[in-house]
């Protein structure tokens, strides 16, 4: 086969096709940004005619490298243009098109395309829709920069890029105090994570003298990487909202729904996990870091799943489910299965984006009502949207042969067959069953039962810009898992044989979850106790009291440091007192003494003068 010259030439030129088409993707995406800099006002349909089209085009272009990769396994690294460099430390623009970036880029573009189309309907009344689309596009570009980065600096560029664009997008309705707070929260929590990334970068620069990924991987073979890896884990904790730095993610629901969809599916929050996937060659030999990931992920997935159980805001539930899935991805990283984590990122992107679009459509239909207690019966009113909502929830819970199944089931199997922490395993399984509970809760409250909203709601889903994106994502949620798994060569040998109970563990806990939830739902109609015991409910509903404590205490302490200690005590009191004021107070007694003598008392002066003179003369004469 190799003797075939045509085949040979394809293999030789395919890296070229790959790099050029990936660069074309960048061009296609940035073209609307640059043309929008022209002082002429943009046309009203610029968002659709330029931005959406650019993303769509970029998606189709990015299929070429994907197919090249699937067919030939082409992976390539493109390095050009030395950006900056000192004598020994160079930084080049370098792009990496490997398994992860070639698969992720088309998915991100596909999902964003759908979200943009949906946004053109959702935001149609917004006077700044063009700007909104531009922000979304820059957000996407930053994410693709992050994914294709081949050195730490470029990665950091994309990393901060998504961070700051999320600030703008979450704070889109800037007249609202809540939106501004949420935007600030997102940036600050991410900054805490950034400290970890900066730490890792400083460590790499100091010890390996390079930020280039290959060089980092090669040069660090025999080194103890625990500290930089912990730095990277902190970075991922911030960006992917792991336990401790998670509260910004549900708060980010203050942004418009398309933003939430994009933020949660294919950009921003998966960046942290993606960072660890990228760095997995460093992670795989470090048990400390792996265990940290495992336990952190398990804690996150259970905690946020618990929080999701009692939320009433439809977007908050979906947001917490993202957080929980991110915890699951973190667990997978901890299992040393980066590829599975990546697979879950990919499948999750489809159904999570779809869930958000469905909830956006429903929220819009119900006059911006987000409380699931005030919904119900949507199954009859918006049949398409609510069936897709159900489909997404099913995919999320890992129903066999939907997208989520292929990644989630594989993860749980890998978890079951590994020699790792039983505590983490139990937590993860519990979280998996909780997934079923809150998913059922959404479906139960939104699409089942009778309508509980005001009768005059502008319910209409018959708009191609609503139906089509959701439909596309629905297809993705159905087949994406199968497509990716069947085209992916596992890097680690999966354990194929195991006892049935382990094999079916994921399904069993999910089913148990569903059964419990249905039992609970039926119990709501029968009040057994006069006063229900609400502690557990409060814990879940108040998000574990985490924001109530951390969001008050930490800023308060900081602001007290700023005001009382730094400004008042040090600057305005002690530094003044020991500096400028001290000079005054030291010199004042001297000045006063000299001053006091000279008060125009001529008699005293003359008599003093006379006596001194007389005394001096007397002494001289004698």
């Amino acid at each position: 086969m190799m003797n075939n010259p045509a085949m040979m030439s394809t293999i030789l030129t395919s890296p070229l096709h790959m790099t050029s088409s990936m660069v074309l993707v960048f061009f296609a995406l940035s073209y609307p940004i640059f043309t929008s800099l022209s002082p002429k006002p943009l046309k009203n349909d610029w968002a659709i005619s330029h931005v959406k089209k650019a993303v769509k085009l970029a998606f189709f272009i990015s299929l070429l490298p994907l197919f090249l990769f699937l067919n030939h396994g082409t992976e390539t690294i493109m390095t050009d243009w030395k950006w900056m460099g000192t004598d020994t430390f160079d930084l080049c623009i370098s792009l990496k098109f490997d398994f992860f970036s070639t698969i992720f880029t088309p998915i991100a573009l596909f999902v964003t395309w759908s979200i943009l189309e949906f946004a053109s309907w959702y935001m149609h009344a917004d006077p700044n829709m063009n700007r909104f689309f531009k922000y979304l596009l820059i957000f996407l570009i930053a994410m693709i920069i992050l994914v294709t980065a081949n050195n730490m600096f470029q990665l950091f560029l994309g990393w901060e890029g998504v961070g700051i664009m999320s600030f703008l997008l979450i704070g889109w309705w800037y007249g609202r105090a809540d939106a501004n707070t949420a935007a600030l929260q997102a940036v600050l929590y991410n900054r805490v994570g950034d400290i970890g990334l900066i730490f890792a970068m400083a460590w790499f620069a100091t010890n390996l003298n390079s930020w280039d990924l290959q060089q980092v991987f090669t040069a660090s073979k025999d080194m103890d990487l625990t500290f930089p890896l912990l730095g990277l884990i902190i970075a991922a904790t911030g960006k992917s909202a792991q336990f401790g730095l998670h509260p910004w993610l549900p708060s980010a629901m203050e942004g418009p729904t398309p933003v939430s969809a994009l933020l949660h599916s294919s950009t921003m929050v998966v960046a942290g996990i993606f960072l660890l996937v990228r760095m997995s060659p460093l992670l795989e030999n470090n048990p400390t870091a792996l265990t940290t990931c495992l336990c952190l992920g398990a804690l996150t997935t259970l905690f946020t799943a618990t929080c999701a159980l009692t939320q009433n805001d439809i977007k908050k539930i979906v947001a917490f489910s993202t957080s929980s899935q991110l915890g699951l991805m973190m667990v997978t990283i901890g299992l040393n299965q980066p590829q599975l984590a990546f697979l879950h990122i990919c499948t999750h992107a489809f159904f999570k984006a779809m869930l958000f679009l469905c909830s956006g459509s429903i929220i819009h239909s119900l006059n911006d009502e987000q409380d699931i207690r005030k919904m119900g019966g949507m199954n009859h009113l918006t049949p398409f949207t609510s069936s897709c909502l159900t489909l997404g929830s099913l995919a999320l819970t890992g129903t066999p042969f939907l997208a989520g199944f292929f990644s989630k089931d594989a993860i749980i199997e890998a978890l079951n067959t590994s020699y790792l922490n039983a505590w983490a395993l139990v937590l993860t399984l519990l979280a998996t069953s909780f997934t079923a509970v809150y998913s059922l809760r959404i479906v139960f409250f939104v699409s089942m039962g009778n309508p509980r909203f005001t009768s005059l709601s502008p319910i209409n889903e018959n708009n191609p810009t609503v139906i089509n994106p959701i439909k596309r994502l629905a297809w993705g949620s159905i087949i994406a898992g199968l497509l990716i798994t069947s085209n992916m060569l596992p890097m680690k040998t999966p354990v194929m044989s195991m006892p049935p109970i382990l094999k079916l563990a994921a399904l069993i806990v999910t089913l148990l979850g569903v059964l419990t939830a249905m039992e609970l739902a039926s119990l709501t109609n029968k009040q057994f106790k006069t006063t229900p015991n609400l502690t557990a409910h409060h814990f879940s509903n108040m998000l574990g009291f985490f924001p109530a404590i951390i969001h008050r205490l930490t800023p308060k302490l900081n602001l007290i440091l700023g005001q009382t200690i730094a400004a008042q005590t040090v600057d305005q009191t002690w530094l003044e007192k020991t500096g400028p004021k001290a000079i005054v107070s030291l010199n004042e007694p001297l000045i006063e003494t000299t001053n006091n003598i000279q008060q125009g008392m001529i008699k005293t002066y003359l008599s003093l003068f006379f006596f001194t003179l007389a005394l001096a003369l007397l002494l001289l004469l004698i």
Partner: protein
């Protein structure tokens, strides 16, 4: 050198002779031409490092960026001052421009001096026009106090430097920057030598300013008119950093241990002044304190004395110069409209001045060091070189970046976002002059992304 210096000097007669109607346009155009011409300094690849030499002046990779920044800032100051001096008689306007020009002359001489003593004299000479700008053109009575603080802090710091320099001259026989690094290392062992070491650096640390000696800075910044704040933040503080980098060569053996307390102090200052920023209600004071915080990082980067530290410090000096000057200009656009520096009184300005919000946003991002702006490159290099010295510094620098992000965005949210207060009615729309002013600040910053080596100093 004279190609820039003489035109700058000739700017003064031109200010007085040009007709009143064209005063601002001609001086602006002229100073812009000087600024553009000064960019030619970047294009001098020489092996020795020194170029454009004459008997007393020369440029090298360390001074070139600062010189170009100095020249770049004069047209911007002229642009910024046009509105608030418009109510003054034309003679005073001419006087004002003359002061600004004289400041540029002194600064060019200071940055390009090849003799340390000449640098010292010019360093001191910049005090005079700055003092006049603050105390004569400031807006409130506190300006007199601010002027006193400014003058006495700087003088008290820099007089020991004179003595120290004379001692150095006595020992080595030369004060030429060209040869100083080849002079034999001095025997420095006694306590007196340590005082000498402190004397050499104190002036610059006060000028930077180091945390603890920074009280003059917020006062001076707040009370100065816009041009004064701009030049203070953008260039005058950098005299300190520049002087320190020059003196470090001579101080070599002693610095290694003596600098530790200063590094810690500088980094501690980053946190403390950052926390103060979080509580500021006064916009200009916030920007001033943020300058102290950033310059603390610069001071630490210089004191650590590694190539990365120096490079990072120089990048951050240039980047911070442009950023903080831009922020002061933005604060001034608010001030000229609302006549108040209090942030609470001018909120939600995105509604009324939408394009200004863009500038605010970019400037805030530059202030919090967003990649790939040069601010980040500088901070990252300083953080890395400090990290190389001690891991614990990351606790301080890391917290510093977090707090910086906090107050930069607080400033942005406070001024631009939120609902528009009811009392903000009938304010001027933005002028093209103001947009141009900010663009001329931010454009160099953005262009530096593409070729950061220009401001990398010796290690480029």
């Amino acid at each position: 050198m004279l190609k820039i210096l003489l035109p700058t000097i000739m700017l003064i007669p031109m200010t007085w002779l040009s007709p009143a109607k064209r005063l601002w346009t001609t001086t602006l155009a002229y100073s812009l031409i000087i600024a553009l011409a000064s960019l030619a300094w970047f294009n001098t690849p020489t092996e020795t490092g020194w170029s454009c030499m004459n008997t007393y002046m020369a440029t090298d990779p360390l001074s070139t960026p600062l010189l170009a920044l100095t020249c770049w800032l004069l047209p911007l100051m002229i642009l910024a001052s046009q509105n608030h001096t418009s109510s003054e008689p034309v003679g005073r306007q001419r006087m004002y421009i003359t002061l600004l020009t004289s400041l540029q002359i002194f600064l060019i001489l200071a940055f390009s001096a090849t003799e340390v003593i000449m640098f010292y004299i010019m360093f001191e000479a910049t005090l005079i026009p700055t003092l006049i700008i603050i105390t004569r053109w400031g807006n409130q009575t506190e300006r007199l106090n601010a002027g006193t603080y400014f003058l006495f802090y700087t003088l008290a710091g820099s007089l020991p430097l004179l003595v120290a320099l004379l001692l150095l001259q006595n020992n080595t026989g030369t004060l030429s920057l060209l040869t100083l690094q080849y002079a034999p290392a001095m025997e420095l062992s006694s306590y007196a030598d340590k005082f000498w070491w402190a004397g050499c650096l104190l002036a610059f640390l006060v000028k930077m300013p180091l945390y603890g000696a920074h009280l003059w800075l917020p006062k001076a910044h707040v009370e100065a008119p816009i041009a004064g704040s701009m030049i203070l933040a953008a260039v005058l503080l950098k005299l300190g950093g520049y002087g320190m980098m020059r003196m470090m060569i001579v101080l070599e053996p002693l610095t290694k241990e003596l600098s530790y307390p200063f590094i810690i102090f500088a980094l501690w200052g980053v946190i403390m002044t950052g926390s103060i920023c979080l509580r500021q209600t006064d916009l200009k004071s916030l920007i001033a304190y943020s300058s102290v915080s950033h310059m603390g990082l610069v001071a630490a980067g210089i004191l650590i004395q590694t190539p990365w530290g120096f490079t990072g410090a120089l990048i951050l000096m240039i980047a911070h110069g442009l950023t903080s000057s831009a922020l002061f200009c933005l604060a001034n656009t608010n001030y000229e409209r609302t006549h108040s520096r209090t942030m609470m009184l001018a909120r939600g300005l995105q509604m009324v001045l939408p394009l200004m919000t863009t500038w605010w946003f970019i400037a805030s991002l530059a202030n919090l060091a967003l990649p790939p702006l040069p601010n980040l490159m500088g901070e990252l290099m300083i953080i890395t070189s400090l990290f190389n010295w001690s891991w614990w510094t990351l606790a301080l620098t890391g917290a510093g970046t977090l707090i910086t992000a906090g107050y930069s965005l607080y400033m942005f949210l406070m001024t631009q976002r939120g609902p528009l207060p009811a009392h903000i009615m009938a304010i001027h729309p933005t002028h093209s002059r103001e947009h141009l002013l900010i663009i001329l600040h931010l454009l160099p910053l953005i262009l530096l992304i593409l070729k950061p080596e220009l401001v990398w100093g010796w290690s480029a």
